[in-house]
C-alpha cells in the first residue's frame, strides 16, 4: 500500500527505500522502548501520535506552511532565536541528528571520529532521509564547537542554504556586544528571507509563543521533583525532543494538558516508579530524537531519570525572555541577553553550569548524577571533571554514541552505579 505521504517524500527527493527502512526501525524501537513502559500518563498519547507522524503529518503541515509562503528555518542549537523566526511568521524546526544513519555517506566529507550528532545530521541529509532539511529555506548553524563549525561549511556546499551565527567564547562585555550584533544581523536575515519587517507586535507574538512553550516545559520539569516521579525520564525526554519540531501552539497546549494530569498524579501519590526508586539527573550533551539509549538503560534497570541538564532539556527552557519592551531594538537586546544566560560548555569559564546542576540535583532530590558525553564532544567531556568535583553526590561518567555495541557495557556500569546508591 502506498503511504499517503509518499508523494511529498518523492517530491522532496528522499531515498524512499532507505526512508521506509528508517521508519520501520524507528517504529520498532519505539514499541520496544516506549510502549513497553508501565503506568504511562494518558497525556502521552498525543506525543506517541506525534512520533508516529514525525515524517508524516508534521511534514505535511510544514509543507503546507511553505506553500502558503511562510519561511521554513532549520536549526541545531538552542542559541538560534526562534522568537525572530516566529516574528516574521516563519516555522522553526530542529533538524534530524539523533540516529546513526548515512555514516558512510557522511564519512566522505567528515572524519570518522566526529561526534555522532554531527555525523547524524550530515548522514540524514546525504542519505536522503530528512524531509525537514529539504523543506527548509534556511539552515541556521552556530559556532558552538569546532566540529559543528567546520561541518557547516561542508553542509553549505551541499545544501547552499546554511547561515552561521557567531557565538562568543566568553561572556564579557565584548562577547555580549558580539552576540547582540549577531541577533540583530539574524533579524535582518529573517526580514530578507520573509520580505516582512520585524515589528513590535510581531516580536511580542513570537516571544509570547516561545515563552509559553518554555513555561510548559518548566512546569513539566517542576512536576518531576515529586516522589514517586509522575512521569518517566523517557517520556519527559520525548516531550522535550518533540518541542523542537512540533507546532508551538499545539505543543504548549498538549504539554500543559499532560502537566494537568501529572499534577493529579502527584496529589494522589501515583507515579511511574515505586516511591523511593533511585532518582538520577542526567547532565551533558544533547540527546536528539530518537536517541533514547541512556534513558532506556537506566529506567530498564529500575531507576528513574528526573531531569536532563542538557540543551534538549533544562538549558532550552530555564530562562524566559522579558516581554516588556517598547521598541524592536529594546526587545531584541533583552532577548539577546536571555540567550547569553545559557550555560553551554562552549563558553569559558562556564561555572554557572555547575551552580545550575547543583540547583537541579537539590530541587529534584536526585540521588546521583550521570554525566553523559557524546564521544568526541570535547567541551562536555572536559567539563565532566569539574562537574564530578562539584556535585557532591555519587557520579557516573559515560561517553558513548548512537550505536548499540556498548549497550551491555553501559548496562553493567549503570547497574553497578545503582548498587552503590
Amino acid at each position: 500500500m502506498e503511504n499517503q505521504y509518499e508523494a511529498i517524500w518523492k517530491e522532496l527527493g528522499l531515498n524512499l527505500e532507505n526512508h521506509a527502512g528508517l521508519l520501520g526501525v524507528l517504529s520498532d524501537a519505539y514499541i520496544n522502548i516506549y510502549m513497553a513502559q508501565k503506568n504511562r500518563p494518558k497525556g502521552m498519547e498525543y506525543f506517541d501520535f506525534v512520533v508516529s507522524e514525525v515524517h508524516g503529518l508534521r511534514i505535511k503541515e510544514v509543507y503546507e506552511a511553505k506553500e502558503s509562503g511562510r519561511p521554513i528555518v532549520g536549526a541545531f542549537c538552542v542559541y538560534v532565536p526562534e522568537e525572530l523566526v516566529l516574528a516574521v511568521d516563519g516555522v522553526c524546526i530542529g533538524l534530524c541528528a539523533g540516529a546513526e544513519v548515512g555514516s558512510e555517506e557522511a564519512e566522505k566529507f567528515i572524519p570518522r571520529n566526529t561526534c555522532a550528532l554531527i555525523k547524524g545530521f550530515m548522514g540524514f541529509k546525504l542519505a536522503g532521509l530528512c524531509p525537514y532539511v529539504e523543506l527548509t529555506d534556511l539552515i541556521v548553524g552556530e559556532t558552538t564547537c569546532d566540529g559543528k563549525k567546520k561541518a557547516y561549511e561542508i553542509f553549505n556546499e551541499i545544501t547552499k542554504k546554511v547561515y552561521v551565527m557567531e557565538i562568543p567564547n566568553m561572556k564579557g562585555p565584548k562577547g555580549r556586544e558580539l552576540w547582540e550584533s549577531e541577533v540583530f544581523r539574524f533579524r535582518e536575515k529573517m526580514e530578507a528571507l520573509s520580505g516582512k519587517k520585524v515589528t513590535v507586535e510581531g516580536l511580542q507574538k513570537g516571544m509570547a509563543l516561545v515563552n509559553a512553550k518554555r513555561k510548559a516545559l518548566q512546569r513539566l520539569s517542576a512536576l518531576r521533583a515529586a516522589d514517586p516521579a509522575p512521569i518517566s525520564g523517557l517520556d519527559a525526554l520525548l516531550v522535550n525532543q518533540i518541542s523542537f519540531y512540533d507546532d508551538p501552539v499545539r505543543f504548549t497546549q498538549m504539554t500543559n494538558a499532560l502537566c494537568d494530569e501529572l499534577e493529579e498524579r502527584v496529589k494522589s501519590g501515583a507515579g511511574v516508579a515505586a516511591k523511593g526508586a533511585k532518582r538520577l539527573l542526567v547532565s551533558g550533551s544533547p540527546m536528539a530524537i530518537p536517541n533514547w539509549k541512556l534513558h532506556a538503560i537506566v529506567e530498564g534497570s529500575g531507576a528513574v531519570i528526573v531531569g536532563e541538564e542538557a540543551c534538549i532539556g533544562e538549558r532550552n527552557f530555564r530562562d524566559l525572555s522579558d516581554e516588556n519592551f517598547a521598541t524592536v531594538e529594546e526587545g531584541i537586546a533583552k532577548m539577546a541577553g536571555r540567550y547569553l544566560s545559557i550555560d553551554c560548555a562552549c563558553f569559558t569559564p562556564n561555572d554557572e553550569r555547575l551552580g545550575n546542576i547543583n540547583a537541579m540535583t537539590g530541587r529534584l532530590s536526585a540521588d546521583g548524577v550521570i554525566h553523559y558525553s557524546l564521544q568526541f564532544c570535547t567541551p562536555y567531556m572536559m567539563e565532566a571533571f569539574k562537574v564530578e568535583k562539584s556535585v557532591n553526590r555519587p557520579f557516573l561518567k559515560i561517553e558513548t554514541d548512537y550505536s548499540m555495541e556498548d549497550f551491555g557495557q553501559l548496562r553493567t556500569r549503570v547497574e553497578a552505579f545503582l548498587e552503590i546508591l
Binding site: T412, A416, E419, I420
Partner: protein, 250 residues
C-alpha cells in the same frame, strides 16, 4: 543452605558453590556459543537452594531462568573481601573488561572504573598476543621479568597490536622480548586506571589474568605496591555472587 554464584563472562562461565558461608566447590567452562546450555548443565551438576548470576551474560539467566542478578562490580568486591578481608581495591582483568573497584572500609563499592568499549588491555588482548607469538597462556605468564631491554608496543588495539607484533617478529626481535613488552603495555594501562583513585591497600588482583606472575610483577612495579592474588582468582566474581545470594535470603 547452599547458594550458587554463576559468573557468565565473555570467555568462561565460572561457578562457585557456597554452603554455610564457605566455598565448597567451583567449576569453570568455556562460554562457547551456547552459554545457556553450559549454564543449565552447571546448574544441574551443582544443585543449590539459591542461585545468583553475574557477569556479562547475567541477564541471559534472568530472562530464561528467572534468576536474580548482581553486577560483576559488586560481585568482585564481595568475592575479593572474602579472600582478603582488608581489601580496599580490586583489579580484575577479564576477557573483555578491565575493572578497577575502590571499596570503603566496610567493603562497600565506592567508585569503579571500566575500560571503554574495545578489548584494549584486557585478557582477550593477552590471549590473542600469546597465540600470535606461539605461547600457551601458562608459558606466556611465566616468562621471567629480567632486565632485557623493552621494545615499545604502541597500539593497544587487539587488531593493530597484532600486526605490530608480526612486524616485530619479521624484524628479528625475540619473541620473549615482544611478549614482555606486551605485558608491560597492559600493566601500564591498568596501573593508569588504578591511579585515577587514591589507591588504598590491600589491593587484590582477581580474574583469570591474575594467574600470570609476569603481569602481576609488572603491575606491582608500576604501582609500587604489593598485590594479593586469591587462591583461585577467576572465581572471585562467582564466589561474590554466591555470597550476595546468601545475604539476600537473610
Amino acid at each position: 543452605m547452599r547458594t550458587l554464584g554463576i559468573d557468565i563472562g565473555s570467555r568462561y562461565i565460572k561457578a562457585a558453590l557456597v554452603a554455610d558461608g564457605k566455598l565448597i566447590s567451583f567449576d569453570r567452562r568455556e562460554t562457547s556459543c551456547e552459554p545457556l546450555e553450559s549454564c543449565r548443565s552447571i546448574l544441574g551438576d551443582m544443585g543449590a537452594d539459591r542461585v545468583m548470576a553475574t557477569g556479562y551474560g547475567r541477564h541471559l539467566l534472568e530472562v530464561h531462568g528467572d534468576i536474580p542478578t548482581v553486577t560483576e562490580i559488586k560481585a568482585f568486591a564481595r568475592g575479593a573481601r572474602e579472600f582478603f578481608p582488608a581489601c580496599r581495591t580490586v583489579i580484575d582483568i577479564g576477557g573483555q573488561d578491565t575493572k578497577v573497584i575502590s571499596l570503603d572500609v566496610e567493603g562497600r563499592v565506592r567508585k569503579f572504573e571500566m575500560n571503554d568499549r574495545c578489548a584494549a588491555g584486557t585478557g582477550k588482548f593477552l590471549e590473542v598476543m600469546a597465540r600470535t607469538l606461539g605461547y600457551d597462556l601458562a608459558e606466556f605468564g611465566a616468562l621471567p621479568a629480567d632486565e632485557e631491554e623493552e621494545v615499545r608496543i604502541s597500539s593497544m588495539c587487539t587488531v593493530f597490536a597484532e600486526s605490530e607484533v608480526v612486524s616485530l617478529i619479521a624484524r628479528g626481535v625475540s619473541r620473549s622480548r615482544i611478549a614482555k613488552s606486551i605485558n608491560q603495555a597492559v600493566a601500564a594501562r591498568v596501573a593508569g586506571m588504578v591511579k585515577r583513585f587514591p589507591v588504598e591497600e590491600e589491593i587484590v588482583f582477581a580474574g583469570g589474568c591474575a594467574h600470570s606472575p609476569l603481569l602481576r610483577g609488572m603491575l606491582e612495579k608500576s604501582l609500587g605496591k604489593k598485590l594479593f592474588v586469591p587462591s583461585v582468582p577467576e572465581i572471585t566474581g562467582a564466589l561474590g555472587a554466591a555470597l550476595c545470594a546468601v545475604q539476600e535470603s537473610a
